[in-house]
């Protein structure tokens, strides 16, 4: 796995856009123009990886949605990138009949069935367009890569495979089967793109096990058919630089329900929690203040969208840093940018003096070199300015939310709850505090308390809490579900231990920066995150290092390459170097960040995090309340 998943997927996409031939390195090759047609799934896959400019550079003149009105454009080859669903196939047949384009390159995101292929064939025959269908490919790209080491399964229609869908009480077997099939299909595509056959470990008795069984079966079938196997060929040779196979750990969301509800303090997780953040794009509404006031005077809101990409060095460096560090770093970047700007201005003024001052002429010669370097670095400077502005806006928005909802208080409290250290304020106080946070924050806090408590609170206390919550305006249905869940998990296994963690407040910061700064963090405590392992990270650690632990000892073991049925005895005694963690039922950035920190502390290990969907706490609460209302 020398190249990250993101690079592999991007390379696969670029290949596809180049008519499935590897793109040449030479920059001055003849432009070949083409039109890209995608459906919403394709759009979600492409948008985090390739920007519009990159698409243009590859010769794509137009990119359109499949189900939009499209005019015929003569003499243009078209690349389709779509899921093989009924409506899409119908639309393709319609396009063929209407003779919209000159030649068609059909690329299906996941494998298309034989019958649907025949549908297209008959439509092509009817339209006399068989020769126009130049190539048909199964791309096996049915997953969305958000970061170098993070992927999710889908963004559109994620209700179909959400936590709610999997865990609801009235689920039918057929529904479950179809959900599992779609998850397995995406995971299969993921491993095909990665080019490696993993060793699968999963817990017993839940959705994760079902996924593991199906995935193992699918991989086995594909490997057995040696001629058509997708795992032979040059993709595997790249993967063979690492002699070990990766470890694939399947976890179910139910093993840890506190983390999705947790308030967070790292930059990326905060953005996801507090702002509108999808597929690496943040949407900010200007005039933010109006949102949080209850008697809102409608200000004119303009929406701004920012993309947080891999090319943004500041983002890559600081997306896992605690928020105060981020604020400081933005300030530093701004200062260094200003210094560079001044340098350029100074050169400009020196150049301006050229005719008047002979003394300047002697300095000219080495200023020429400086000038050339300054001119060539101008685009970089502008880009840097743009990024600094972006992060300033985003961080300011986040800070506004933190201050108005007092998220630092919640964070500290939850950390203490999860670390089972002593609380200096009672829970009731925090819940009844009217200006600390929205009702949803209080609900989250209480749920975490309930989940992490060794014994459930007495009836009296419970009624008190319920009353306080109702006063604060919370909806109590998630609570019902969590009680059920807690009862169930108590029977099944010991409650999850969140590890000994502690949070040391670094004292109050009255002013973090000097007066030139925009971030005044008065009253916001600067909290330092101590390294602690969330349950998922701990499970991964046990399995990767082959440690024995009651939690993971009875995990099942699957090896698709092994002939015969799977054995539950791990054959491999060495610790794994690479691992992929997948959470069935949804995940979030806090877990991802925890895994990243864990990987950083271990040398030479690579961990990829995946989940069936990505939700922030608000969305998760909504799902829980839906479940609790049954």
């Amino acid at each position: 796995m020398a190249a990250s998943v993101r690079e592999k997927q991007a390379v696969a996409l670029k290949r596809m856009l180049n008519f499935n031939t590897p793109p040449l390195k030479n920059t001055t090759t003849e432009p070949v123009w083409k039109v890209l047609i995608y459906d919403r799934f394709g759009q979600d896959i492409i948008s985090p990886l390739l920007s519009v400019k990159e698409l243009r550079d590859m010769g794509i003149t137009l990119h359109l949605l499949l189900h939009s009105d499209r005019d015929p454009i003569p003499d243009v080859p078209t690349v389709y990138f779509i899921m093989p669903t009924e409506e899409n196939i119908d639309r393709i047949c319609q396009d063929l009949r209407n003779q919209l384009y000159e030649s068609y390159y059909l690329n299906f995101i996941s494998a298309i069935s034989r019958s649907k292929l025949e549908d297209i064939a008959s439509a092509a025959l009817a339209a006399n367009a068989v020769s126009q269908v130049t190539k048909v490919f199964d791309q096996y790209l049915n997953f969305i890569t958000l970061e170098d080491d993070m992927f999710i399964l889908c963004h559109q229609n994620k209700e179909v495979i959400s936590y709610h869908a999997i865990n609801r009480a009235d689920i039918q077997d057929t529904d479950m089967e179809s959900i599992m099939d779609s998850i397995v299909d995406s995971l299969f595509c993921f491993f095909v793109t990665l080019g490696a056959v993993p060793i699968i470990r999963c817990p017993r008795g839940n959705a994760a096990e079902m996924v593991a069984v199906k995935l193992d079966k699918k991989l086995r079938e594909n490997l057995r058919d040696a001629r058509n196997s997708l795992f032979t060929g040059d993709s595997l040779s790249a993967g063979q630089f690492s002699f070990q196979r990766p470890l694939f750990v399947l976890a179910d969301r139910n093993v840890d329900l506190a983390t999705p509800l947790h308030h967070t303090w790292t930059y990326q997780a905060l953005i996801h929690d507090v702002l509108d953040f999808h597929l690496n794009r943040v949407t900010l509404e200007e005039g933010l203040g109006a949102e949080l006031q209850t008697g809102a005077r409608p200000k004119k809101k303009s929406r701004k969208m920012y993309d947080l990409t891999g090319a943004d060095k500041f983002w890559q460096k600081h997306k896992g840093s605690p928020f105060p560090e981020v604020a400081e770093s933005v300030q530093e970047e701004l200062d260094s940018y200003r210094a560079q700007e001044d340098e350029v201005k100074r050169l400009k003024s020196i150049m301006g003096l050229e005719g008047e001052d002979e003394g300047a002429i002697s300095m000219l010669s080495d200023n020429t070199a400086k000038l050339t370097s300054a001119v060539s670095s101008l685009p970089e400077l502008l880009e840097k300015k743009r990024l600094i502005d972006l992060h300033t806006n985003v961080a300011t928005a986040v800070l506004d939310h933190i201050k108005s909802r007092k998220l630092d208080v919640y964070f500290e409290f939850e950390e203490k709850l999860m670390g089972k250290s002593t609380l200096d304020k009672s829970l009731l106080d925090v819940i009844s505090d009217p200006d600390a946070g929205m009702p949803e924050d209080k609900m989250r806090l209480f749920l975490i308390f309930y989940i992490t408590a060794q014994q459930p609170p007495s009836e009296l206390d419970f009624e008190q809490y319920k009353k306080a919550l109702l006063d604060a305006g919370c909806d109590l249905s998630p609570l019902n579900y969590i009680r059920q869940w807690k009862a169930f998990t108590k029977i099944a296994s010991t409650p999850a231990n969140y590890g000994g963690s502690g949070v040391k407040p670094m004292g109050l910061f009255s002013r973090v920066m000097n007066t030139g700064s925009q971030f005044v963090m008065e009253g916001v405590k600067n909290l330092v995150l101590k390294q602690h392992n969330l349950p998922v990270t701990r499970i991964l650690d046990n399995l990767m290092e082959m440690k024995s632990h009651p939690e993971t000892d009875d995990y099942r073991y699957f090896d698709p390459k092994m002939r015969g049925s799977e054995s539950s005895i791990p054959r491999n005694k060495n610790p794994f170097q690479e691992a992929i963690v997948f959470v069935v039922g949804g995940g979030n950035y806090i877990e991802y960040q925890n895994l990243v920190d864990y990987t950083k502390s271990k040398q030479g290990k690579k961990v990829i995090y995946g989940c069936s969907e990505l939700f922030n706490a608000a969305q998760f609460i909504k799902q829980l309340s839906q479940l609790g209302q049954k």
């Binding site: 499935n20 005019d71 003569p74 243009v76 034989r114 292929l117 297209i120 048909v136 490919f137 199964d138």
Partner: protein
């Protein structure tokens, strides 16, 4: 890794065909297909493709002659690969004209696109196609300008070299002259020494000469006197002789 299922698709097409034949549904023969193909080749795409082929020709031309142009070869380059500056200028000119025509063609196509009435998508597509062609042209122009920059740099370097060698020769000459001047001054010193020496001698000579002139003057005087005396003496001798002769004559007469 993607799976190429084109063959599978073609097989499906055959299956469907045979199935349709079996059921008895006939479709239009494929002959119309070929006729239909030619129909939609619009003028735009042909022209656009032409422009691209032209630019590619230019690029190939430039790349072909690049080595000679830059003459990056060794010091001992053969006569064949050496290009005269005239040829280089010619290439420059041709390339520039070519690039200008291509840019004109692109602009023309753009105007056409503006004027023609067509759907928004097609317009956008054509605009983007023209952008791509422009970018390509810019890339090729960059090739050319890089080449030219190298050449101009090379030329300046050559000029530099020439100036340096000229300066060097001047410096040599000046040094030589300097040496000579130094020698001259040395000689001059010797001369002046000698001259000073000779001054005393000349002074004495001068004295002598003055004395001699005096002497000669006196001598002249004496000689004048002597001549005068001589003349006077002669006169007395003459008188005596004449007297003697007269006395003789008297005596002779007396005696008779």
């Amino acid at each position: 890794m993607a799976a190429d299922i084109t063959l599978l698709f073609k097989a499906s097409v055959k299956t469907v065909k045979t199935r349709n034949k079996a059921i008895g549904i006939g479709f239009d023969s494929t002959k119309e297909d070929i006729l239909k193909r030619g129909r939609k080749k619009s003028g735009f795409s042909q022209k656009a493709k032409e422009v691209i082929t032209n630019i590619t020709k230019l690029k190939d031309f430039l790349l072909l002659h690049r080595k000679d142009y830059v003459s990056a070869g060794s010091l001992i380059s053969s006569e064949l690969s050496r290009m005269t500056d005239n040829e280089r200028d010619q290439i420059d000119q041709d390339a520039q004209i070519f690039m200008r025509t291509c840019a004109e063609a692109i602009k023309q196509l753009r105007n056409e696109v503006e004027k023609q009435v067509m759907s928004a998508q097609v317009k956008e597509h054509r605009g983007a196609v023209l952008d791509l062609i422009e970018v390509y042209l810019k890339g090729v122009c960059k090739l050319y300008s890089e080449q030219r920059a190298i050449r101009v740099k090379r030329m300046f370097e050559q000029e530099n070299q020439r100036l340096i060698s000229e300066m060097n020769s001047l410096v040599d000459e000046v040094r030589q002259i300097e040496g000579k001047v130094v020698e001259i001054s040395r000689l001059q010193e010797i001369f002046s020494e000698k001259v000073l020496q000779q001054e005393t001698e000349i002074d004495s000579i001068h004295q002598l000469v003055v004395g001699a002139t005096e002497n000669v003057k006196e001598g002249n005087e004496d000689i004048r006197e002597a001549i005068k005396n001589n003349a006077g003496f002669r006169v007395w001798i003459l008188f005596f002789l004449v007297m003697c002769s007269f006395s003789l004559l008297f005596l002779d007469w007396y005696d008779s």
